[in-house]
């Protein structure tokens, strides 16, 4: 069953994505295949920008903690950026024909860092703990139970078919930790990290100095790498030294002066300088929802599709994105990014272009005529829109981009009033529906991301991220069908229909595809990205002898 599924996915993947090592196009670039055998030993010096605030993913889950913990914690299955699933802690698995029963056959002889066995009971413990946490998408899973049928078999029973399950199980959010460690340490200690993080991964957590660094040591017993990894057995590196430095210029300087092997989140402006010579920059496009403007379709000016369409074609997003991100972040055309394997609808690319005259015509026809100050007016009402911005989501110079969009909208006669709000105020405003537009990107390697962003019930007050307040029964129906469908091709088709429908209604405006920029020095090899578009564990990484 998994083999057949894999074959279908592979075919789809070849059609939909993948440009291999080319950093242009879709997908990602990887370190070039180095000549010669991987060298053993050495400590990788990794400098990253965001320090996790809690190291227990079932208490608090952030991209930062998920990404780093991938080095220490394994999952049942591995999803690669091409959309393929591979055996990991579960060597093989089967899905029942009705899509409600998943049976996982665990690898033999797997142990946690504390020496306890990773068996079926440990897996069911972790699955139950994840569902009970109420976070990490748990509420979206129609979970009934997980049963240890025998020491190496786990059966997950759902109340209805739910195809996105495997993708969720592949993420660090459902990684398998030692049940003994959860018993031994208090929730506070688990959150504080350090030695309380006990998984089965290629590295063990050795020491954590809050505000400074995290030290990883190789797990010499490791012999259960995912089936698609470059090698088997233990990691090449002796260890990893992770240092937390928020300041971009310090990270970039540390890389260019040889004080770091790898640095996270290089600003686009520094990429040209770092390419060539002793350093390079690897890229990976994020899956999920691209950076996009989410227009409130329920009330205000954007309740009118013509005004939404005017904002979509009336602003030259191409030029804004190109100039701000130095050509590194691709323009987005759909509400899923190309890296969302098996769900992205490439037919939407270039579907419309910048056309100021057409946009003005649309607004004229809708009865919005230019007023004295250039802002359009209808029945004495100015064409103003409140754009609420969540301060916590401002990265990649989105504030600069926002000002560019504001200026272009002014030319159209639309007054976009950007308000940067702290996360609390933002949530309050969003839940009250008190805004006309907002902006976001959401990373997830599943077409089901559309469900969280456009299902009528999952508005901010409903606990989701449907900031468009869209209530379209057809979209709801398609999203529900896609989650229940067991045939990957059918799912892919349903998600394509959703993307087309959203595009036809201009409910949101895709702007750019967030792209991970990972700075690396020449002596580092075997760096891979994970499906969520972030660095995968450093299991395959090796350093030149000289390092």
């Amino acid at each position: 069953m998994p083999a057949r599924l894999g074959a279908v996915l592979a075919v789809l993947t070849m059609a939909a994505a993948c440009s291999g090592g080319d950093s242009g196009g879709t997908g990602q670039s990887a370190t070039p295949d180095a000549a010669g055998e991987p060298a053993q030993g050495g400590v990788l010096n990794y400098v990253t920008d965001v320090e996790p605030t809690c190291w227990d993913l079932q208490q608090q889950s952030t991209i930062a903690s998920q990404t780093l913990l991938r080095n220490v914690l394994d999952s049942l299955v591995r999803l690669t950026p091409d959309g393929e699933f591979h055996g990991w802690l579960a060597e093989t698995w089967e899905v029942s024909p009705d899509g409600t029963t998943y049976t996982f056959h665990l690898s033999d002889g797997v142990t946690f860092h504390d020496g306890t066995p990773l068996d079926a009971a440990a897996v069911t413990f972790n699955l139950d703990r994840w569902i009970a946490s109420g976070i990490n998408l748990a509420p979206s899973v129609p979970y009934e139970s997980a049963t240890a049928t025998d020491p190496r078999t786990v059966t997950v029973q759902l109340t209805e078919p739910y195809a996105p399950l495997l993708q969720i199980l592949s993420m660090p959010i459902v990684s398998i930790v030692s049940p003994a460690s959860v018993e031994q340490y208090t929730p506070e200690q688990l959150c504080a990290g350090g030695e309380a993080i006990v998984g089965s991964g290629p590295f063990r957590s050795a020491a954590y100095v809050q505000g400074q660094s995290w030290t990883l040591e190789r797990n010499d017993d490791y012999d259960w790498a995912p089936e698609n990894a470059d090698h088997t057995g233990a990691a090449h590196l002796d260890g990893v030294q992770v240092t937390f430095i928020q300041e971009n210029s310090t990270r970039v300087g540390a890389l260019s002066s040889g004080q770091a092997h790898l640095v996270s989140n290089v600003p686009p402006v520094d990429v040209a300088n770092l390419r060539g010579g002793e350093t390079d920059v690897l890229t990976a496009e994020a899956p999920g929802i691209p950076y996009s403007l989410q227009l409130n379709t329920a009330t205000g000016p954007f309740a009118d599709p013509a005004v939404r369409e005017a904002l979509r074609v009336g602003v030259d997003y191409d030029t804004l994105v190109e100039s701000l991100y130095h050509g590194l972040f691709p323009r987005a055309w759909s509400l899923l990014t190309p890296a969302t394997a098996n769900a992205y609808d490439a037919s939407l690319e270039g579907e419309y272009g910048h056309d100021l005259a057409a946009a003005q015509q649309l607004l004229d026809d809708a009865g919005w005529v230019p007023g004295d100050d250039g802002i359009r007016v209808r029945d004495g009402e100015r064409l103003e829109a409140a754009w609420i911005v969540n301060q916590a989501w401002i990265r990649e110079q989105r504030d600069v981009l926002g000002e560019g969009i504001q200026d272009a909208a002014l030319e159209l006669g639309i007054d976009l009033q950007r308000e940067t709000l702290d996360p609390g105020t933002f949530t309050a405003r969003a839940q009250a529906g008190d805004y006309d537009l907002t902006d976001m990107s959401q990373s997830r390697a599943e077409g089901d991301m559309l469900n969280l962003a456009y299902r009528s019930t999952l508005t901010p007050s409903g606990g989701g991220v449907n900031y468009t307040q869209l209530a379209d029964p057809d979209v709801d129906q398609l999203l529900g069908d896609a989650a229940r469908a067991t045939d990957p091709a059918q799912r892919s088709d349903l998600y394509a229909q959703v993307q087309q429908r959203l595009s036809d209604g201009s409910v949101a405006i895709p702007v750019y595809v967030p792209t991970y920029l990972l700075g690396t020095s020449a002596g580092v090899h075997g760096v891979h990205f994970d499906a969520p578009g972030v660095p995968w564990s450093f299991f395959d990484v090796w350093l030149d002898q000289a390092q």
Partner: protein
């Protein structure tokens, strides 16, 4: 005599407690008046947040009770020395502050030492003089005062670490990694100290005793170093005390640039995330620091200038 000292000490301690209580109360109510809930901080990156989960997190932190009740619990816990638990880091606030105190104290001590040295040398060399040297010194001071510490740090890093490789770019816990952050902090502070010191020394120089000392045959430099600086140190100490109180604020940027652990970094994180218990803890700490500085300065003034001694 002893009774009077005891009363004075008690009065000091009492007013210190009132200051601390007032600061804590003000922060508590201000932060709770800001819109937004702690569950937004804790569940910030969740894509799907159910009402049940929200309610559970609120109950977990005792936020489901009316504000006055929360305040009473807060003050009660405070009286027992319990600062509560950080929303974001989910650790006891007292532990967090204790762990991050040492690196910041280390940075502050090294930075103040650098500042005091620079300011003293510059003041001694330029007091009562005119000409190029003095003008240069004034320019240097103004530049140091107005240059953002953040920028100074980046410039130092670019030359002394990235280019020349003399110092590590980020903290490994060693002393060599302390040099650049300490220089950055010293440069940010010394300009003000040096100006105050020179101005006060020049005031003192106009007094008869300075002339007397000169007529005894002492050189101008010696007069400045031996006599005038002592007079000038009172205002410099006042400014210095004020600077020490603001060290945590200055450390925010320096710790971020150099990737150092410490209270500055913790403060930034707390404020950005509206982590109320942590913010209250840090405000209490800085109130305590100011109270202590005032007391210490009172004692030091008397040591430096016996004329301020008690006339009992």
């Amino acid at each position: 005599m002893t009774a009077r000292v005891l009363v004075a000490v008690l009065r000091r301690a009492g007013s210190a407690l009132v200051v601390l209580w007032g600061a804590a109360t003000a922060v508590f109510f201000t932060m709770h008046a800001v819109p937004g809930d702690p569950e937004d901080v804790i569940l910030g990156q969740e894509l799907l947040v159910t009402e049940e989960l929200r309610a559970q997190v609120r109950a977990d932190f005792g936020l489901d009770r009316p504000l006055p009740a929360q305040y009473l619990t807060f003050v009660g816990n405070l009286a027992r020395g319990d600062l509560g638990r950080s929303y974001l880091l989910q650790q006891p606030v007292a532990d967090l502050i204790r762990d991050q105190l040492a690196p910041t104290l280390q940075l502050a001590a090294a930075g103040l030492l650098v500042a005091a040295l620079l300011a003293t040398v510059l003041a001694v060399l330029t007091t009562g003089r005119s000409g190029i040297a003095r003008q240069l010194a004034v320019v240097l001071e103004v530049v140091a005062i107005s240059a953002p510490a953040y920028w100074v740090g980046i410039v130092l890093l670019a030359f002394l670490s990235f280019r020349l490789g003399w110092f590590p770019a980020f903290s490994d816990g060693g002393l060599r990694a302390l040099v650049l952050p300490a220089l950055t902090m010293g440069i940010a502070i010394f300009g003000l100290l040096s100006q105050v010191l020179r101005e006060a020394a020049e005031n003192a120089e106009r007094q008869p005793f300075a002339l007397t000392a000169r007529t005894r045959g002492l050189s101008r430099l010696a007069v400045t170093a031996r006599h005038l600086l002592k007079h000038a140190s009172i205002p410099a100490l006042t400014v210095g005390g004020w600077v020490v109180g603001g060290v945590v604020g200055g450390a925010v940027l320096i710790e971020a640039v150099f990737g150092r652990p410490g209270l500055g970094r913790l403060t930034l994180q707390a404020v950005v995330n509206q982590d109320i218990p942590l913010i209250v803890g840090l405000v209490l700490l800085s109130a305590l620091v100011f109270v202590l500085i005032t007391i210490v300065l009172d004692v030091v003034y008397r040591l430096v200038d016996p004329r301020l001694g008690t006339r009992s």
